[in-house]
């Protein structure tokens, strides 16, 4: 009996913690359907007017466009650099490897404000502040650790005898990579790319320092909407980005599952 009580109490505790984890996100979905002018609870009524407003507003659309451009370009750059690096790192015994891994991961553990201020300082000197190029480069730097780690993890389980088999059949290194290795590690590479994309899509602090009003991203626009009173339009946009995150998460999960089946 006491054992059952203990299990029950434990499960209740866990349930409360899980509710705590999920609740905030579900709290903002209904409020995005408010019909009121300002954000207050209880809601005066339900409507989709803020979504309609967002879709019509060129500011939000431009921000979304910039976010998608910066996200895909920076993810592509980070994936290119990170995958090559991971490939090299997984097959070397050089004592420099740990140093390089630490360097590649450092953007992930450096406090983001320090990254933002430093990049602002350096980019200002070479004229990269305010343009798309600066945003893409900085976001690629932040996405690189995620790609490197994900691809490295995938390569850990990669069977290198496949490469040697291809080599014995006369394939060159480049051909081996594109016809044997890459198809097999593709799920890891895709996950890494999606991670990098998600990082860019979330990034707000570096963007605050580097973006001009001309190229503002979605999170940056949300942020400026938060500083004053919260408008329901901002909540609506946030709900849309939650949807986008769920989509990304689902794609990553499906890629992983596909990879498992292949193996």
């Amino acid at each position: 009996m006491t054992a059952m009580l203990r299990v029950g109490a434990f499960r209740l505790l866990c349930a409360l913690i899980l509710i705590f984890l999920a609740a905030p996100i579900f709290a903002i979905i209904p409020t995005s359907f408010s019909s009121g002018e300002y954000f207050v609870y209880p809601l005066p009524g339900y409507s989709g007017r803020w979504y309609a407003e967002v879709v019509r507003d060129p500011t939000w659309l431009r921000a979304l466009e910039t976010s998608l451009i910066v996200g895909s370009a920076s993810a592509a750059l980070a994936t290119l650099l990170g995958t090559t690096a991971a490939l090299g790192l997984s097959r070397t015994r050089s004592r420099w490897a740990p140093v390089i891994v630490a360097a590649l991961i450092s953007p992930m553990i450096t406090p983001i404000v320090i990254v933002a201020v430093s990049l602002f300082y350096a980019y200002a000197a070479v004229g990269l502040v305010g343009g798309l190029a600066g945003l893409i480069l900085s976001h690629a730097t932040l996405g690189l650790p995620f790609v490197t780690i994900t691809v490295l993890a995938t390569l850990k389980t990669y069977n290198t005898t496949l490469d040697r088999a291809a080599e014995s059949l006369g394939a060159g290194a480049v051909r081996i990579f594109f016809t044997v290795t890459l198809p097999l590690i593709a799920p890891g590479v895709i996950s890494g790319a999606l991670f990098a994309f998600a990082v860019s899509l979330d990034e707000v602090v570096v963007t605050l320092f580097l973006a001009s009003p001309e190229y503002t991203t979605l999170p940056r626009e949300i942020f400026s909407g938060l500083r004053q009173s919260i408008s329901p339009a901002v909540v609506a946009v946030s709900t849309i980005t939650i949807g986008m995150s769920c989509l990304l998460m689902a794609v990553v999960a499906l890629t992983a599952r596909a990879a498992k089946r292949l193996r």
């Binding site: 913690i17 953007p107 404000v113 730097t141 979330d202």
Partner: protein
């Protein structure tokens, strides 16, 4: 599936390194060159900017560059008696030589960082010298300076200029620790009313440690539940943990604002339930900062714990119980020690991330809840005080890296036993 989702976290746990090097049998050591482009990219595009920015904390060039003749004239001054007459003349010449406003502004700003009030002195003097035009021969440099601002008659400002007109200055690093150089040499604590920075580090560390502790307390049972649940349930529960993990930090902060607002969800619900008669002030409190930070960082604790717990065979605890240990004792003596690496990995992640928090305390906390990052950004944005910003950033990074390596080290030692 789970392994791939957690990819990035797995790597951080293994930051003890060698993980990458140990993998592959065919050793071709030119393979390392494949990592060169990424390494260079990070070196040039990340490490160099960070170091360049941090170097601003010791850079004193601005003052010496603006006042070259004065610096030279003051070089042999003892700092006690009145400065040499040549210094006054040099100052008049240096200030008159500053043609454009940005140059004067930069000097005024830099001196003002050293001693509040000097900005006005510089601007006022510069304006007066300009208006007077070329000097009438009978007037000494000191007279011209004194006519503009009486501060030039004391030794204080000259001492500051003498001390700070150097290539490297310890000023910002000391100042950001609430220390100053004593006039007679050596370092002393600042007067009590001027001490501000130590309490900011203290607050940052307290917040980060509290959040880490809370995350461990809340994350442990959840990770245990997920690791020991039936597979189908485990996956669903894991998704609940992962969903916030994938949701943007800004959006999660926003959702807590929506909940904590004066007319927000929590107040509304509590009023409806009759538990409150008036709205509570929740936004801009330390509580709001703790709640939201724990919410944002909890997945970083749960996921490493989960991955470690998943690998612990149930038979261990059962064996302990069959030997007569009670359930709790078995968990405490057999199960818990095995989860220590996961706990350490989670703590490292949560602590280093928490130390650098910026957006969340800014939006949910009050003035007394802002952490070091906030002041780094503010010193840059509001006063262009790169020196102080860089010094604060330097101490923060030093502390974050120390934590990172200390916990990593202890966890590896524990894992080795």
């Amino acid at each position: 599936m789970v392994a791939t989702i957690r990819g990035p976290l797995q790597g951080v746990e293994g930051l003890g390194m060698a993980s990458s090097a140990s993998a592959a049998p065919p050793v071709k050591d030119r393979m390392i060159w494949l990592a060169a482009p990424a390494f260079l990219f990070v070196l040039i595009g990340f490490a160099a900017p960070i170091l360049w920015f941090l170097s601003q904390s010791v850079d004193g060039e601005a003052i010496g560059r603006a006042l070259p003749q004065t610096a030279a004239a003051l070089a042999r001054w003892d700092g006690e008696t009145a400065p040499p007459a040549a210094a006054y003349d040099a100052m008049v010449q240096d200030l008159s030589a500053l043609e454009d406003r940005p140059a004067v502004g930069a000097l005024a700003r830099e001196l003002n960082f050293r001693e509040p009030g000097y900005r006005t002195v510089i601007w006022r003097t510069h304006r007066a010298l300009r208006k007077a035009g070329s000097a009438d021969p009978g007037q000494s440099g000191l007279d011209r300076l004194l006519a503009a601002d009486p501060a030039w008659g004391g030794v204080e400002i000259w001492r500051v200029i003498q001390r700070e007109a150097r290539r490297f200055t310890p000023f910002f690093l000391l100042n950001s620790l609430d220390l100053e150089q004593a006039p007679q040499g050596g370092v002393e604590r600042k007067p009590e009313v001027e001490r501000v920075f130590l309490s900011i580090y203290g607050r940052t560390i307290v917040i980060a440690l509290t959040v880490t502790g809370l995350c461990a307390l809340l994350g442990y049972p959840v990770a245990y539940l997920i690791a020991n649940a039936a597979p189908r349930w485990g996956l669903l529960l894991l998704l609940i943990v992962l969903l916030p993990f994938w949701t943007s930090l800004l959006v999660r902060t926003l959702s807590w604002m929506v909940i904590f607002q004066r007319q927000g969800v929590l107040n509304g619900v509590l009023l409806d339930l009759g538990l409150l008669t008036d709205n509570l002030q929740l936004l801009r409190t330390r509580t709001a900062v703790y709640v939201s930070m724990v919410h944002i960082l909890l997945p970083f604790m749960v996921l490493p714990l989960y991955s470690v717990m998943k690998k612990i065979p149930r038979t261990y605890v059962m064996a302990a119980e069959s030997l007569g240990a009670g359930r709790l004792r078995a968990l405490a003596t057999v199960y818990f020690p095995q989860t220590a690496p996961g706990l350490a990995a989670g703590a490292v992640l949560v602590l280093t991330l928490a130390l650098g928090f910026y957006i969340t305390p800014m939006l949910l906390g009050g003035g007394g809840d802002q952490m070091v990052s906030y002041f780094v950004a503010t010193y840059v944005n509001e006063s262009l005080n790169w020196g102080t910003a860089a010094a604060l950033a330097g101490w923060l990074m030093l502390f974050a890296f120390l934590c990172f390596f200390l916990i990593n080290l202890t966890s590896r030692r524990m894992g080795g036993q």
